[in-house]
Subunit: 123 residues, 2 copies
């Protein structure tokens, strides 16, 4: 079959801003990290402890991405037990607003989800 219209193949989420954003923040760790940073600036190990089950590697990578995308600001203090602080930027804080509605929905509906899950198990 010859290429009919030389279809541009259209890279799946090319023009779609949702894709561009989801590719980065559409994962568990990014969302949890942003949530952990709400309110106060935190240090690396503080975030580790707070999130609990994230590995150093993933936290490091997640923070780098969030910094690249302008959600988080990283500040290094040239002390010798090194001190690095992470805090939300304006963009990061603005993101928390839609995220809050998502969290609110989760709080209201997690019971329904749990029930659906159990019904499925039983069946």
């Amino acid at each position: 079959m010859p290429k009919e219209t030389d279809e541009p193949k259209q890279q799946p989420g090319a023009g779609c801003p949702i894709r561009g954003v989801l590719d980065r923040i559409g994962d568990q760790w990014s969302l949890l990290t942003l949530e952990a940073l709400e309110g106060e600036k935190k240090r690396f190990n503080e975030l580790m402890r707070e999130i609990g089950d994230i590995s150093k590697q993933m936290l490091s990578k997640t923070l780098k991405h969030l910094e690249q995308d302008g959600f988080v600001r990283r500040t290094v203090y040239p002390q010798v037990p090194p001190r690095v602080e992470y805090e939300l930027t304006e963009l990061g804080r603005s993101f928390l607003i839609p995220m809050k509605t998502l969290i609110g929905w989760a709080e209201q509906n997690h019971a329904a989800i749990t029930i659906a899950r159990q019904r499925h198990e039983d069946a």
Copy 2:
């Protein structure tokens, strides 16, 4: 060091409904799939084509999870080129509301993110 308070070790996201929900919908494919199902019921291959870069296996698994959690209803028509339709449940539709605010945010802010990314590359 003896166990001081016999700390319950507290499974990281145990009591937190956000964790329970994020574990399932906190990934790219779930969000994209739910979005694709907005409005009309769709068949498996239709979803494949629409999402574009998801593999059969992941779409299959994602749909199963969404069905288990009560977001999606799966209907099989006993025809012989098999026909299976997926549609949002009430819960699924209600989820689109907070998700819309997230998408709206993405649309408004993806430019800022792109700029931040480029600035980072240059540096």
